[in-house]
């Protein structure tokens, strides 16, 4: 009946039971997400943002380089000429329409790199769920920082980023918090910054 084999199995089972019992009293690494948020990487790729210059002018010049660079074909730009009466950006042209399909977007950041004026950037915001598909096509109404929008730093100057001399970008209007790299418009929840006890 090979009893010794079964006895060995009993030992293994007891060992397994002791492990699970020990785990039961360990500290749990779970972060109760909506009430406490984990600090993410400073250069996290989240929702896009079209930024403005300090004087309120749009940085985007409607060159469509982002649209060409986009590997997912998520960006549609339709440019138009600035006129003295209707001036949106300092250059000759501006984006009359600027749409990003966030469902197609793979958040690679190529648009950010392609942009010659640092107009399009990826913010760390990631909570964009909605009930309708159409709601994921973000137009200028939602991408563009409001004229009175918060002050922030471009991704290259966030903590941990590579500093770059991009000519006056530090004075750019953005909604990203300079110090934490976190969404500055969000102030509802506590931020979990320490990483002690986190698994993996």
């Amino acid at each position: 009946m090979a009893m010794h084999k079964h006895l060995y199995n009993v030992g293994a089972i007891l060992k397994g039971l002791s492990i699970t019992l020990g785990m039961m009293f360990k500290r749990k690494p779970t972060i109760p997400y909506p009430s406490i948020r984990k600090q993410h990487a400073p250069r996290f790729h989240g929702l896009h943002e079209l930024r403005r210059y300090d004087d309120g002018k749009e940085r985007c010049i409607g060159c469509e380089l982002c649209s060409i660079a986009c590997p997912a074909n998520a960006i549609t730009v339709i440019g138009a000429e600035n006129t003295p009466e209707d001036r949106h950006s300092p250059g000759e042209r501006y984006a009359a329409r600027y749409e990003i399909d966030e469902l197609r977007c793979i958040f690679c950041g190529m648009c950010e790199e392609a942009c010659p004026t640092d107009a399009i950037v990826l913010t760390p915001r990631f909570e964009m769920s909605d009930y309708r598909r159409g709601a994921f096509i973000y137009g200028k109404d939602r991408l563009l920082v409001p004229p009175e929008g918060g002050v922030g730093s471009p991704p290259d100057e966030r903590p941990g980023g590579i500093p770059a001399d991009l000519g006056g970008v530090a004075q750019t209007k953005s909604t990203t918090d300079v110090a934490s790299g976190y969404d500055a418009t969000f102030n509802g929840a506590k931020l979990k910054t320490e990483r002690k006890g986190l698994a993996g």
Binding site: T20, K28, P29, A199
Partner: protein, 325 residues
Amino acid sequence: MPIWLVVLVKSGILLFVVITTFAYAMLAERKVMGWMQLRPGPNRVGPWGLLQPAADAAKLMLKEDLMPRTADPLIYRLAPFLSLLTAFSVYAIIPFGASSAGTWAIGNVNAGVLFLLAITSLGVYGISLGGWASGSKYPLLGSVRATAQMISYELAMGLSFIGVLILAGTTSLDGIVNAQQRLWFFIPQFVAFVVYVITAVAETNRSPFDLVEAETELVAGFHTEYSGLRFGLFFIAEYVNMLTVSCIASLLFLGGWNAPFGWTWVPGIVWFLLKVGFFMFFYIWLRSTLPRFRYDRLMAFGWKVLLPIATLNLLVTAVVVAVWS
């Protein structure tokens, strides 16, 4: 009060208690399993997740009651009730305190253990018929497994009872507990106790013997086709059965409401519930530790290991008792 009214009131109270226990046993299972897997477990509904059972009940009740076209309508609809009925009817004879103390059991049957065995064996009919009547292959496989598993473990379980019966000299549950006033039976009948605990897990189709549901192989086994409240009834039956075998283990092997170390200042019911609670915890503990048995090994284990051990234990007990007295 007329006797029927007393029985009715007691049944009502017990039904409420058992259903509530089921609800919180389910929550406790999810919590404890969560902790053992380094998760916090359900904690969104109510403080500390305490209203989770209510949310689950509401969800199950509001879900659509589906039936496959190939199903046998009458038996398909009846099976969950059968499962639940047998699960609950055991509580007609389970004593929660000494009969000398009065009103702790609905009925004090002098052949209590036999009644227990009979009723708990009937429980498999709900599973078998439910799986059979679903008219679909995974439930059928589940129900076939349930039947085979029941036969192979029922025998060892019955044999493990007999050792206790020989020591107690009675088949009444009350008498068995009273016989354990000096020494709980899990010490002289340790082998029978181990065999019982293993077979009890198999009997209630719980992990690691949950081949009847076996998610990885059989989708959900016998209740694959069930939804809504009918699935809920199977669910309740499973947990009530867990509770039942925990009660039996406490009564037969851990001295029921007898206090350990002579600490009689704590009421007997508390001791009884503590013992039952320990077994419930043990179930959950086992589930979050062990992987599922392979089917042929389950059969081999039942027939080639548990049955011989239980028989041997019975023989030794019988000889020792005969020589002693």
